[in-house]
Amino acid sequence: MSWTCIAPTLKITTRPDPPSTSLTASSACNSSSLHFRRSRFGLGAFRDLLDISPTLTEAAGAIVDDSFTRCFKSIPPEFWNWNIYLFPLWCFGVLVRHLILFPARVLILTIGWIIFLSSFIPVHLLLKGHDTLRRKLERLLVELICCFFVASWSGVVNYHGPRPSIRPKQVYVANHTSMIDFIVLQQMTAFAVIMQKHPGWVGFLQSTILESVGCIWFNRTEAKDREIVARKLRDHVQGADNNPLLIFPEGTCVNNHYTVMFKKGAFELGCMVCPIAIKYNKIFADAFWNSRKQSFTMHLLQLTTSWAVVCDVICFCIDNLIYGLSTWVRDMISIRAGLKKVPWDGYLKYSCPSPKHRERKQRSFAEWVLRRLEEK
């Protein structure tokens, strides 16, 4: 992974080559010019050592703009409506969205929840003995409630490519913009997704309803968690009757303009990988969930008061196991969804970069200095 910023607008200078005026040249002359030469070269060497301007420039460049923060910035749409004719129209639009559409959508969602709960709870409790039938019904009901959710945002989802099927030894990977990615995909087929366990009402829903479709939880903060989760994933993929597994290898929500590096865990399960690219249309709503700025409730409210959520879901399958699969799949998803790639790990949102990147720069500096010392 390279650490240089990819912004085309930044002028970042690399360390200039040390000047060829070496310290050894001073030895071959007479004394007066030797003194002059020595002091001139002497200053040159001292200047090179003191000159920290390339490193400072990189640091200042990172302060001014960096490709990592850009991935998590909600890019607001351009203002188009600030004139005397369009502004009242926009105000009218706001009123329609908040006073007509929003209550209608809340009503639809409430009806959906009532139907769902009145069917799910009996099925869950009464069909304890008949597992296959119960699982099938629960799957259908989860798909149903997701359809209600998508309807509540006036969601228009265009599906392209082969529809996911229930088969063992396959895993679906997709780029991640918000938790609604899961709802949009769940509407198509009931997936078993691997998610971060959330607090609050989302967590409650996760532990009750989503358990029934076979979802797997992880906890970013626990160290041993990774191995446990890897084992659970492997077990799930082997089972013939389990729902297809859906993984978001980015590990965090990105703003649907960029993709961060994919984690390799999804690609080491020894099974077929089916990438799914999701691209939201920003004209109607910005579907990016900036989890640092908004709670999920606020995010849902924002979507419910937008005109619509329009997105394209593109599924495609890869048959062979390719070396460097995670990079290749990321390239394919980025191309299909029109996203730019960024060489950062999404988890840098929560932790510091590993010291090995800094050590690379330190090593090249130390080698340069020691080489100068040896020349002398």
């Binding site: 001292f46 200047r47 301007s53 200042a60 500096f365 200095v369």
Partner: protein
């Protein structure tokens, strides 16, 4: 300007511009100030009016830089005006003198106007990390100082720095992306 509100007025922009001009040169254009303000608000997550050290360190490219701790000492807790004034040293229009003064300030961590042997050693330690021993660093520095006509006990002032860097062109420029 008060605390970091979401709008900059024209008065605010002009005030910042005047604050940052160095020897009557305008170093930062108005659009650059607006862009830097957006960036400032983006980094300052709780709208406190300044950016704290861990908010700077949340930029991985900055955290990976060997001199990040030194810069943090200078940038931590700055309000927007001082933030732009700090970055104005990286403007293409800034003079070599302005840039050398910034480099001096990085070395002069105790702000006493003098850079000692130990001050340079501290910076060297961060630049070379575990790949050079302290002895090697001392050896290089003593040698280089001797070549330049200084000793281990010398104290360097800003004027010494000007002499050392001389008329050489210091390439220390960062372009602010303007939308």
């Amino acid at each position: 300007m008060g605390n970091a509100s979401s709008m900059l007025t024209q008065y605010d922009i002009e005030e910042v511009q005047e604050y940052c001009d160095h020897l009557f040169f305008i170093l930062v254009s108005q659009q650059e100030i607006v862009s830097l303000y957006e960036r400032f608000c983006q980094l300052d997550r709780n709208a406190k009016g300044f950016i704290s050290a861990d908010e700077f360190l949340s930029v991985p490219e900055f955290a990976m830089n060997p001199l990040s701790q030194w810069l943090l000492k200078m940038v931590d807790g700055l309000n927007f005006k001082d933030f732009v004034a700090f970055l104005s040293a990286f403007s293409a229009k800034a003079s070599a003198q302005h840039k050398i003064e910034l480099i001096f300030k990085v070395y002069d961590s105790d702000c006493n106007g003098k850079v000692s042997f130990n001050d340079i050693m501290k910076v060297l330690r961060d630049l070379s990390g575990p790949f050079m021993s302290d002895d090697q660093r001392e050896q290089v520095l003593i040698q280089v100082l001797k070549e330049a006509g200084y000793t281990k006990e010398s104290y360097l002032t800003v004027d010494d720095f000007f002499k050392v860097f001389g008329n050489s062109n210091i390439k220390m420029e960062v372009e602010v992306p303007v939308d």
